[in-house]
Assembly symmetry: C2
Homo-oligomer: 381 residues x 2
């Protein structure tokens, strides 16, 4: 199978990640932080090392401010629901995923309001429009690092600077950015960063992280056992343990650490270059096919490894089915959990086909995909 659904989850995983997972499961996986025996201690140590290596990946000085989550959605929910208070306001964009806009919609019941800044048809955001949307009660500016539908990158550095200047928190949904492009909490002045472990970071599903800058008070989403202060019903909140109630996914987290080691070694810049080359090849190869419509920025530097398209007025689900059934190519069609992005792009009725090359995609696979799309476009005439 030619796997071009890396926007949903990366596949395959680096062999080191799978080996690491196996090693934990087979050899020492106890419950970290719950006992002092060798196995529990080793599990705790390896989890701590994962915090360090992830901190390095995002240039975070305080690894203890990294909370492990089950996915990026949990991190985003924890941040919005844990940080925002009644009467506060959020500025976000029209290219956000439902994991950002649905929690914000739910928070309307608590008198927390949101302004959605419209992006251009290619998903690009004007920092000036963000600035204009800010109100005296704006607490958070929340932006995706890159759109999951078009790959369009957001101007993180400029928004970070604006947020800093105005004393507003800068929150980044790293779901489609992490591992695919530079995300540097210092350079981009990010206060809150939510990231999945299983997409660009190439770790296992069931993992993710939320980073919150030291000093920002957060209410936890879950209360429960943390292995410490067992005798207190309402213990003082401390990072990270108060936000990791219950048994964490130790083998998943440790394998994610191994994935981050792989990324640090290769370098996110090198991965981005490789993926950009494949994206460019794919997009250049199909852009002149009669009937093909492409979405998102034309400049490859302005986006991550996503090619969004439609063929004539063919149902995008049908195109995806043909690619799968006839050519063995895995893509995703539909609305990609981002209804607002499709309104922005003008595809709110049709959805689109999304193709995401990944680190392990080969040039030959891209060539085969181009041929398949040509074939489908021609056969539909």
């Amino acid at each position: 199978m030619i796997y071009l659904d890396n926007g949903a989850t990366s596949y395959p995983k680096p062999p080191e990640v799978i080996e690491s997972f196996m090693d934990v499961m087979m050899n020492y996986c106890a419950n970290p932080g719950r006992a002092g025996h060798f196995m529990a201690a080793r599990t705790s140590q390896e989890i701590f090392k994962t915090r360090l290596v992830l901190a390095r990946l995002f240039n975070i000085d305080t690894p203890g401010q990294i909370v492990f989550t089950k996915n990026c959605t949990e991190g985003l929910n924890m941040a919005f629901k844990g940080i925002l208070r009644e009467g506060e306001h959020v500025v976000t964009t029209s290219m956000e995923h439902n994991s950002v806009v649905r929690p914000l919609k739910a928070l309307e019941k608590k008198d927390i309001t949101t302004t959605i800044v419209p992006c251009s048809k290619t998903g690009e955001l004007s920092v000036e429009a963000v600035r204009k949307a800010i109100r005296p009660n704006t607490r958070i500016i929340a932006v995706t690092a890159a759109s999951n539908v078009t790959g369009t990158k957001m101007p993180l550095e400029e928004i970070g600077r604006l947020a800093l200047r105005l004393g507003i928190l800068m929150m980044v949904d790293g779901a489609q950015g992490a591992g695919h492009m530079e995300i540097d909490v210092k350079k981009h002045r990010i206060d809150i960063l939510a990231v999945p472990g299983h997409k660009g970071l190439m770790g296992p599903q069931g993992t993710g992280l939320l980073y919150v800058r030291e000093g920002i008070p957060v209410r936890p989403l879950l209360e429960g056992g943390t292995g410490s202060r067992s005798n207190q019903l309402d213990p003082e909140l401390t990072f990270p343990e108060s936000y990791e109630a219950g048994t964490v996914n130790a083998p998943g987290i440790i394998a994610l650490g191994e994935a981050a080691r792989v990324l640090n070694k290769i370098g996110v810049g090198a991965i981005e270059n490789h993926e950009r080359k494949l994206t460019e090849k794919l997009q250049e190869g199909i852009k002149d096919i009669a009937g093909v419509t492409l979405y998102g920025p034309k400049n490859y530097k302005k986006k991550t490894a996503v090619v969004a398209m439609n063929i004539d007025d063919m149902d995008c689900e049908k195109v995806a089915s043909l690619l799968n059934d006839k050519y063995g190519i895995a893509v995703r069609a539909g609305f990609h959990c981002s209804g607002l992005a499709h309104k922005t792009m003008g595809t709110e009725r049709t959805g689109c086909v999304r193709m995401c090359p990944g680190f392990y995609t080969s040039e030959k696979e891209i060539n085969d995909t181009i041929k398949a799309i040509k074939d489908i476009a021609l056969s539909e005439k």
Copy 2:
């Protein structure tokens, strides 16, 4: 290492579980419910099959009412916070884990009150005392299936009958019961059941489930993408997808399904018998050692595979350290995330040593543990 910390997490896992995890990770792990291609479809199918096999394990007729969670704590939080409304009341017991009593403590801010019914020193619960604690606004009776400190089983069937008669929801924390004793939602009349995947079920960490009987309205803990109704910001709630926002831990869930298959094949009754034999052997072997104090019921049928003890006035952490350092035996000491249980047992100042044999514990390991405890008790004289 002799691993007697199965109350924290089971180790080792059945080989089938590890093989299943590997198979998913290596061969087809896409994002379930997000695309139609072969890999995503297969991932979805295997997750659906896991719902079926878990439903069989707990005698659940409606597998679609099973929500996958990251751990038991998430399920308990989702149930309490999603079901209870302002002004309602909960009855629970003094043997509960912090994953039950801490969310309830947090809900006091929302005018949701809790009555904690005191258990006996051995952790046993009087159904009559539960009945007396019920108020007109009681919505949920929440009990653990078995205490995580003493193993004491709660009278699930009687409480279920009481709850049914009074129109109150019966909620069970299956953290220490599932896989170790019968939990049958029909026989025990359970409306809400939260279970971890990595303890008695012998699945991987990062998994768990929450079952909620059909027709009970639940607000989700997290909003986000679910792969369906992408164009709606506030879609109608449907089980299970509305409660599984974001990418689920597909390989973990599928491996948990394999674990449940192993359990269904061996039979929970057979596992319980095996573990009881080991527990009895351990407890009988140490009960007459001078200085050893045991906690919990004396009748082995009244508890799961937990032996809780102290040696004279030795610090329980020191006993655990000696067992680890000198004898290579992994146990847990301290308060086990259950301060209330220790108050009930009279060990609120000392904590205790907890030893939990598991399905893979051998008689030889139990003999070695008895010898080590004798040794420690003697050397301290």
